[in-house]
Symmetry: C3
Subunit: 419 residues, 3 copies
């Protein structure tokens, strides 16, 4: 909760701005939670519970979901200081009729009952969507997603390309790709043909972005010709060369198909190998956007929406976005998505980057219920920055500050992704 009156008032106004959420992992065919287990199954809770001492037993498939909920709620007492805990309390308040300030294992039964009662309703998506004031939410679709069975005006498809760039040596990925495109992969030229097919299919179905997450040492460059062999079970060097070359092809297709390219830079996968599902990845702060300088130079017509994982990297991002017309700052990602870092990262961007080149936030959510509390966290911080750095120093009037908020939460995403 905000306690500064001006910031409170701004926050209330900002909440009226409808959201275009440009990055999530929502399944449009099951966009909401069905029960509390779907909420507390989010890796932010399982990984914190595990970090605070919970073994992985309660996370096994065969465990009664209510037992799992109890196990996580029990361990929440050890991380009730975190931002993630406040998201959960806010979900309970916004969607489950909770009116208190804290939730503990003692609330387990009624919470589960309440969640099942409400979330089981056939139209549960509607009140969540409405209360969240959502206009559109972007998806993260596998390349062989048929993109059918949902409203692509609400749920905007986005081609996720991690598999294409990093796993073309895996037989199952090759098979999925062959099945989706009719192209058997042999060399880079065949990969190009397959990617063209995918972009045709995705854009025909309303896809509005291409996205990828990248390790800290990634340093893409073009491959001079199409003869590079792309084989199963490659060595590390060959895999890297393939990754750079395929990534470059994707950028060429973004240019051709006029799609922005979301780059989520800095994640090392499976650092904690025994971690819970989706709770294994970490980062190495030693990375630089200079690794992307050739890319940004080579594709002036492609908009790169860049997310980073550290505040050090955010200073580079603010500077690269201030200089490169095609580099846009995007949200507050993962380990940077806590108030202490959002605050300084957002302030730096607001002081240095043209306001039309900033995508303020995205939810990264797996279930619609998380869009509201995560955006609230961001909106409160934004309201305080607007109060302290813009309105009180008389840089902006309140109306102008709210226009800036509207750019960050809605208009920039609409323009950049053409939705």
């Amino acid at each position: 909760m905000l306690y500064d009156r001006l910031a409170q008032d701004l926050y209330a106004e900002i909440c009226h701005i409808p959201l275009i959420d440009p990055h999530s992992h929502i399944d449009p065919r099951r966009p909401t939670a069905k029960n509390l287990d779907d909420i507390l199954g989010y890796h932010y809770y399982s990984e914190l519970a595990h970090s605070a001492g919970m073994d992985k037993g309660p996370l096994a498939k065969e465990v009664d979901p209510r037992e799992r909920v109890r196990a996580i709620l029990y361990h929440m007492q050890f991380f009730d200081n975190t931002a993630q805990y406040t998201w959960f309390v806010e979900i309970a308040r916004a969607f489950l009729g909770f009116q208190g300030d804290r939730l503990t294992i003692a609330d387990s039964t009624w919470l589960c009952d309440a969640a099942e009662g409400l979330m089981a309703k056939r139209d549960w998506e509607q009140p969540v969507w409405h209360r969240t004031n959502l206009e559109k939410v972007f998806l993260t679709n596998d390349f062989d997603d048929p993109l059918e069975g949902f409203d692509t005006e609400r749920y905007v498809p986005c081609l996720r390309t991690d598999d294409l760039v990093f796993h073309l040596d895996q037989p199952d990925v090759r098979q999925r790709l062959a099945k989706a495109t009719g192209v058997e992969i042999g060399d880079l030229a065949s990969v190009r043909r397959a990617i063209t097919k995918l972009f045709e299919q995705f854009t025909r179905k309303g896809a509005k972005a291409c996205a990828i997450s990248l390790p800290p040492d990634f340093c893409p460059r073009p491959e001079p010709d199409g003869s590079l062999p792309i084989k199963p079970g490659s060595e590390a060097d060959a895999k890297r060369e393939t990754a750079y070359a395929v990534f470059w092809l994707l950028a060429e297709h973004c240019r051709e198909f006029k799609l922005p390219f979301d780059l989520m830079i800095g994640v090392n996968r499976r650092v904690y190998r025994e971690g819970v599902y989706q709770g294994q990845d970490l980062f190495d702060q030693r990375t630089s956007l200079i690794q992307y300088a050739e890319l940004f130079n080579a594709f002036p017509d492609v908009t790169f929406c860049v997310s980073v994982l550290s505040s050090g990297q955010n200073q580079e991002l603010a500077s690269y976005s201030w200089i490169f017309p095609n580099v846009v700052t995007s949200g507050h990602w993962w380990y940077s998505n806590i108030p202490a870092y959002i605050e300084q990262d957002a302030r730096a961007r607001l002081h240095a980057v043209p306001k039309t080149k900033q995508i303020g936030y995205y939810s990264d959510a797996y279930k619609l219920e998380f869009v509201l509390p995560k955006y609230n966290m961001y909106r409160r911080i934004l309201a305080q920055i607007l109060a302290d750095d813009f309105i009180r120093p008389r840089v902006y009037t309140e109306a102008q500050a709210l226009e800036l908020a509207r750019l960050l939460l809605h208009d920039n995403a609409r323009r950049i992704f053409d939705v």
Copy 2:
């Protein structure tokens, strides 16, 4: 504007401290702007306008200056959130009689008229100088600058050495050096003779510093003898070896001629190759002052005034300056020169570095009109830090806090540069 009463009062007092601005790019023979085009031609505006969507057409030489001004003012609506925009509004208020809060393309005509009317006056330099409360401003002079035709008491010469360190393989640089010193470059020993000449000439004309900007991977070391060949059109390795050796020679001359050496660490040139003039350089956060440890150890009698480009690097700078007697923190440079970063960087220095070893700020300006708004940005932040971290916690009285401000803005520069 500040809105904290104590900080406001401090700010008002701090503004009475005359400024010694120890780093600028002002041309002492044309120190002020002649028109609005000279103001908005500053790369901070052309690069932000370009970043926000302006093509480079309006920047071409043959374009009517008023058209260029209109183009940049038009694009300013997309970056009116930035610190740079507030500098411009402050210039209009301080020097052009503007009384409002915002400037848009609608103000274009009267602004141009007002600017031409005022700036064309023969003595325009005087009111700007006076209103800015300037005592001295340092220049950045090419090695073959004759240093004549201006008052070196006001405009303090400083030998810029980038060409000597990085471009001695270029025929025109060699020719300019031969012309300036009478020395033809063949090996390191001849470079030494040329540099001695330059230091003699510069110090005779009142130069008070030697300065250079350095890339993130620079790691200087001495060359054992003078026989290193310095040839035109060298390979990358040879160029690097030359750069390190010549840099070391410069440090030796700083020692001999008792000049502080300004090191501006971290810039990569021409990262955005199609960027506007002076809007192409960026940085790589992966750099460390450990690369300069040998230098700092080897030259205990040379004062190194160090500027860095990132907050990560600032933490190193605060620590190196806390330990090395000959390392001084210097200003808030370029991409670090926005409030969000100035604030945290300045606070860290004020908590950790002896107050006599901090050069608070420099303008880096190309035209005198920018000294005032840039220093005001810094002075406001400084006033707030003094209020919050020194006066309110009763570490300092107001009088003591103002003495500290005087060190940062005037006395330290006077002592360190001996002016």
Copy 3:
């Protein structure tokens, strides 16, 4: 001093929490200062005085201690802006009857007299211990420390292992080790035997932790067998291999003997070679906890209490501790131990890391008198964070906030180190 009323009240309450100080360099046989020279001899003063212009003359052994005190007090006028200066003023206020706000060379005589009068008393340790509200303080013991002659309930032994990891090629270290354990070092297997002896001896005497400081490029990995030769006067490569292998052995012993392992990551030794004693070390921000990923994976049962030297590294630490159950955040170390960095580092941890996995602070003190002012600095910052980020936004009640403070200052250390 705090000036926010809520933070003041919290601070007053927090000061009632008894301290378990989990890292210091106190000599339990001479835990307190005997005179002012013992206070101002702390490297934080000698190095700042030297940095601000004092030559090393007054630090020589043969100099009259009162002359040394005068020299340092004289130079304090140049660093009275620093956190270190405020520690000194607070010591004078808490222990020497000083009632003013500032100390200068004019106070030299009475300060020396007062210090000698009080500190010479036979029971001086008691009022210092009591006034500091200390419960336990950890030591940093050389491997051949007999651990006798003091109360190990108050002064908790901790095995410092820097010599074992980095200096096994030095004849005197080998001799000391042979003397302490009866094992002559020849290969890795013999080192293992010696280390087992040390752990047996230390744990028998009440040791509760193993500790080491590590350079930025350290990247430990196991050695497959015990035949690695460990010889005197090795080359750099062999030394590094030895260091990694011996470090790994220590982790194995921490597992076997159930001792937490304090990792203090990032220090380069002797960077400023002519610096004062203990005022020569600095850091390189380019380091990553990814270098310890194998270690954290290999020893799930060992608790690693990790300290880092930069705010960039702190963001990694907060994230690694959020994911790895066996990684705990520990204190605010050395160059990070100034308010500007403590504030942002502590906030990030409090927003992201389970509250049971944070060791809030340690004093790193050489004399008991420093525990109080250093903890006060931390407690004030903590009180302000609790007020602003927890109580005012109604995340915690005041009582809950104080419980969090108790975890950070006492309970977590008690549980983690089993004291």
